[in-house]
């Protein structure tokens, strides 16, 4: 008895340490200077809590636990180390979905066991389970969409009504379980089936461009589900960590939606790009004017100032290293070079900074939208590579466009605009880009990496 008490006290103490390390870790991760150490703090916290839990009183099934931890860790570690930086957003979605699924699994085990002492405990298990299951299936859809496994957005009339009905169904079954009227395994299973279905039907209609906001939302929801299951298990570390992530994730989701000039409700409940596309397309006049790499290279070599606007297309083409090589050549010639990053360049806010950092671009050359927008007027060349919607001036002046009001980079204000683009298609959102048709814009067609290499050759031969 005494021994068990001290084991329990030790576990509680270690959870307290974990909570402290998590909060300190997140705090450090929110500043670029200390960010690197932040993840180490949080990682130490996770290690402490996991090791302590092995000594939890009255546990059995140790071989199963160890096998699951080893297999899950090994697969995730290998995939996490190997994934290309361009694919980070979908990996976050995947790992987040796993967390949601784990929270749902805890709820399922507890509800199948029927071991809840109180109605409140059962209710929290049910609500946390539903949220976790929605986050699980929804995150998997988000992963599939960003990975290109799911290409179409499924939309039909009455979709939101259907979602509402599924939610009502899940809550009804949940009420049966909580009230004790019918807590048979069949009802519990139906409850989770409904919740998984809700995650699917909520996420399928949302377009790929909005996925970062959705992933961030599911991240917050998983945190909340973990917190609820923490209540059920009486586990303070889960309550604290889950709630901190829940509220921090909600704030991050709002910041992201704001950066894209969308409200969260707008992202979740309106199909993007299927109403305004035609109207925006009709407003574009003029022609696309191609340019050869040799001419573009000369233009840049003799410029005073070049602003590079990279987009996700650059990363897909793996062109960031070549682009940086080109910029180094220009810098050596005395040209001022800056990189302009839109908040949603890449697949989520901050993703492009990660990709440029990977290529070795120094921090001080990279500017965000507020910093750089006034500078376009003094730039001789704006080099757009793989970016599209974030430099589309219709966001400023065409009220019928679905991206109207979104803050954009004012690349059209530069004296010359060179757009490196694979072909003549529209952007990720399917909206025609008025910038490409302006008089001062020239199109350099080709694969991002090949075009950058051609520009390097052209600058070298000047």
């Amino acid at each position: 008895m005494d021994l068990q008490f001290s084991a329990d006290a030790l576990i509680q103490a270690s959870y307290l340490v974990t909570a402290f390390l998590f909060i300190m870790g997140l705090k450090r991760m929110s500043s670029p200077v200390t960010a690197r150490s932040g993840i180490l703090w949080a990682g130490a916290g996770m290690l402490v809590a996991t090791l302590a839990t092995f000594f939890y009183p009255g546990m059995s099934n140790y071989p199963l636990i160890i096998a699951a931890v080893v297999i899950g860790s090994a697969v995730a570690w290998i995939s996490g180390r190997r994934v290309a930086m361009t694919n980070i957003p979908q990996m976050i979605a995947l790992y987040n979905g796993m967390g949601g699924g784990a929270a749902a699994a805890i709820a399922a085990v507890e509800l199948y066991r029927g071991g809840q002492q109180s109605t409140a405990g059962a209710a929290l298990a049910v609500v946390g389970g539903i949220i976790g299951a929605v986050s699980f299936s929804g995150s998997l859809i988000a992963f599939g969409k960003l990975q290109g496994l799911i290409r179409r957005s499924l939309r039909f009339g009455g979709q939101q009504l259907l979602n509402l009905l599924i939610l009502a169904g899940a809550l009804l079954l949940g009420a049966l379980v909580v009230s004790g009227v019918n807590a048979t395994p069949a009802v519990v299973s139906g409850l989770f089936a409904m919740a998984l279905l809700l995650g699917l039907s909520m996420t399928l209609p949302i377009g790929g461009a909005d996925m970062p906001v959705v992933i961030s939302l599911y991240n917050a929801l998983t945190g909340l589900a973990v917190a609820f299951e923490g209540f059920v298990l009486g586990n303070a570390a889960m309550i604290i960590a889950g709630t901190v992530v829940g509220s921090a994730g909600t704030l991050l989701t709002q910041l992201m939606a704001k950066a894209m000039n969308r409200s969260l409700g707008n992202v979740l409940f309106s199909g993007f790009g299927d109403t305004g596309g035609a109207a925006a397309g009709s407003a574009v006049t003029g022609s696309l004017k191609p340019i050869e790499a040799a001419d573009a290279g000369v233009m840049m070599a003799f410029a005073q100032k070049v602003i590079v606007v990279p987009g996700y297309g650059m990363a897909v083409a793996q062109a960031q290293h070549k682009v940086w090589e080109l910029c180094q050549l220009l810098i050596d010639r005395g040209v001022t070079v800056r990189f302009a990053i839109h908040p949603v360049a890449g697949r989520m806010p901050g993703h492009m900074n990660v990709l440029l950092a990977e290529a070795g671009v120094p921090y001080d050359l990279i500017a965000d939208l507020d910093e750089i927008n006034a500078e376009f007027e003094t730039a001789d060349v704006a080099l757009i590579i793989g970016a599209n919607d974030v430099v589309n001036p219709v966001a400023r002046n065409d009220k019928s466009s679905p991206i109207y009001g979104m803050p954009i980079l004012n690349a059209d204000k530069a004296k010359n605009v060179i757009v490196i683009k694979r072909g003549q298609g529209a952007g990720f959102s399917g909206i025609e880009n008025a910038l490409f048709y302006l008089d001062n814009t020239r199109m350099l067609y080709g694969d991002g990496q090949a075009a950058a290499a051609a520009l390097i050759g052209a600058v070298k031969s000047v």
Partner: protein
């Protein structure tokens, strides 16, 4: 832990989460989301306790999947977050212009 104490913890943790990242710059949004994704990997301890208490084959099977997924969440979240932040360090060092591209990742 009584219900009211749990509610206090819940409330204070919610404020903490909000305050901790209230002034985060956009460049860190992706790593921070990844980092918070890692932090809710703490669900692993709950999944371990749930599997530890499971008795029927169904409970054991679901508990096993729970621990598997939770371990994936924690370890995967750590791996990608650490990789991202590692690169931020090398670019933040602001070395000479020519030396900026020497990262080997």
């Amino acid at each position: 832990m009584t219900g009211i104490v749990a509610l206090y913890i819940f409330m204070l943790a919610a404020f903490t989460g909000y305050e901790v990242i209230a002034r985060v710059p956009v460049i860190l949004h992706t790593p921070l989301m990844s980092g918070s994704n890692f932090v809710h990997g703490i669900v692993l301890v709950g999944a371990m306790v749930a599997l530890g208490a499971a008795s029927t084959p169904l409970e054991k099977a679901i508990g096993f999947i729970g621990v598997l997924l939770a371990a994936g969440n924690a370890v995967g979240g750590y791996a990608v977050t650490e990789r991202m932040l590692e690169m931020f360090k090398s670019s933040g060092a602001k070395g000479g212009k020519g030396g900026g591209a020497k990262g080997t990742h």
